[in-house]
């Protein structure tokens, strides 16, 4: 299976503050790839690097077989069109209705006519269970619905990779489980690769089939593989403690 993301010798941080050094990892097509680790280990910063919001301190990474670090702005834009992202809060534009939020990338980056865009918006909202909420503003819906609407927007351009930043944060267990199911449906039926930053154990075991563990102390990747396998055979004590909520020490 081809690698959709490949990182080699990558360091992540802010100026002199290094959060992750010399990281090597690959994300295969169709993976639900979990980036996990304790607070402050650099999970969200790594996601920022992968989505092009900040450059790596060192090393390189490729997205869909294109070197992201050395690619020019146009190439980066093309790669971004093939990826989607769901932020912790949903990051919906508050002045736009849900339909307008989902239609925005479609009207910006495709040649679809208005009725097709309209129908695509209906479809994407229906996929996340929000059909009928087209004219609602983000302030009028709940946190879980905001995340689902954010996911609909992230899926607007049929991306090959979707990034998720703490998708379960702030959700009740039922909404969280429903979002997990939705993510799996999208992964399996659209063959979309999901890269998920999370420390919610339930989600990690429910959806993840590949993962890396970022260690805040050594600032390196100290574990990789299927999370369930890591739970059975943890490579070190910290991973064991993380995956068992501190019970295994």
């Amino acid at each position: 299976m081809t690698n959709v993301i490949e990182a080699k010798g990558m360091s992540v941080g802010y100026g002199p503050k290094v959060l992750l050094k010399n990281a090597d990892f690959e994300v295969k097509k169709g993976d639900v790839f979990i980036i996990m680790g304790g607070s402050g280990c650099g999970k969200s910063s790594l996601l920022k690097v992968l989505t092009g919001l900040m450059p790596p301190l060192d090393g390189r990474f490729s997205v869909l077989e294109r070197d992201f670090v050395t690619s020019d702005d146009e190439e980066k834009l093309n790669l971004r069109k093939k990826t989607g992202i769901l932020y912790q809060s949903g990051a919906l534009f508050s002045s736009m209705t849900l339909a307008e939020n989902v239609a925005l990338p479609l009207s910006q980056y495709t040649d679809y006519d208005l009725s097709t865009i309209d129908e695509l918006v209906h479809l994407k909202l229906a996929l996340v269970g929000l059909l009928g909420y087209e004219d609602y503003y983000p302030s009028e819906i709940s946190g879980g619905m905001k995340k689902r609407a954010g996911l609909a927007r992230a899926l607007a351009l049929d991306p090959q990779i979707v990034y998720f930043d703490e998708p379960s944060a702030g959700l009740d267990p039922v909404s969280s489980a429903r979002l997990d199911e939705l993510m799996l449906e999208i992964n399996q039926n659209l063959n979309t690769t999901l890269v998920v930053v999370t420390h919610e154990l339930q989600s990690i075991f429910n959806i993840g089939n590949n993962s890396i563990y970022l260690d805040a102390q050594t600032k390196t990747i100290t574990g990789r593989g299927n999370p369930k396998e890591l739970l059975k055979n943890p490579p070190n004590e910290r991973i064991a403690a993380f995956l068992t909520r501190g019970k295994a020490k």
């Binding site: 097709t116 229906a126 269970g129 929000l130 009928g132 004219d135 449906e185 039926n189």
Partner: protein, 368 residues
Amino acid sequence: MKVMEYQIQDSVLRIAFEGDYIKKNLPEDFFNLIKSAEFQKIYVDATHLKSWDSSLLIVLFELSRFCSRSHILFESKDLPKGVEKLLKLATAVEPVQNVSQNLHEGFLDHLGGWGINIYRSFLRGFHFALKNLKVYFSSFFQKPLMRHVDFLFALQECGPSALPIVSLISFMVGLILAFVGAIQLQTFGAQIYVASLVTIGMTRIMGAIMVGIIMAGRTGASFAASLGTMQVNEEIDALKTMGVDINEFLVLPKMTAIVIAMPLLTMWADFAGILGGAFVGILALDIPTSEFLRFTINAWSLKHFTVGLFHGLTFGFIIALCGCYFGVHCGKDADSVGHSTTQAVVYSIVWMIVATGVITFVLQRIGI
């Protein structure tokens, strides 16, 4: 090569998808046709479909919705598993009724709603002003909750940081006032009175008004934006749940700072405006410096000066109350902060003009 073909045969609409169905617009002619045609079943054949994306899904999604609305049978053959599952997922949840139904209210409803909103916001603003003025005056007698660092920071923002812009604008206003006055006074050979005109104009009202407008746009907007952002970040809710009085903790330092700064800035603006007048009088109208100075001193009176300072003080209260009121009552989204900031500036200016009218009327009645 056609990627979608259809025909009606024996009351069955047969649709075949072939090849790559990618990035296609919605076939509107087809949907117009099926709305008017008569058949009892739709049969979709995807045996020769190679690849697909969401543009195929929307056709099938629309078809399945059309079928369920019109009670028509929907059957398919060799649909990719992903397509089948996604269709199932998309139709799993019933669409909810739209909220937008109450958007189409009549003119009278709209007018009534507008009037009620104005009345309520006036009452709310009035209560806010009363409460904060009470907090302000009671802070003379008992130690308030506000942090001194917040007060000093606000004072820095309202005072020294505002000096350059106040100086420039007031200087220019004095200069314009002198030029405009000179055009008329020169016809009578009385250009020397430019000094009196600028001195009385600046000290009595213009200095205070210019400072008020500058501070409403600069500091009042900043108060509204910072408090509005605190509202968006739920910091104000956190303070309320901790039992902290936000009027004492957040509004008082800002109000105290601007109420102190405004009269001082007004004095400075008076001086800068007179300097602007002198610039025109001495350099453009060739009035001797000593003469200009003598007329300026003669025109200056404690009465005008005090009226100007009183205006400045009043404007300080108005700017603080408007800025803080719209900040504290800001909504919870990013747009609301912008809206609150605009409202703070507009209402500050409107209330300053209203206050000027009232003060001028009262002072005229009592002969000041």
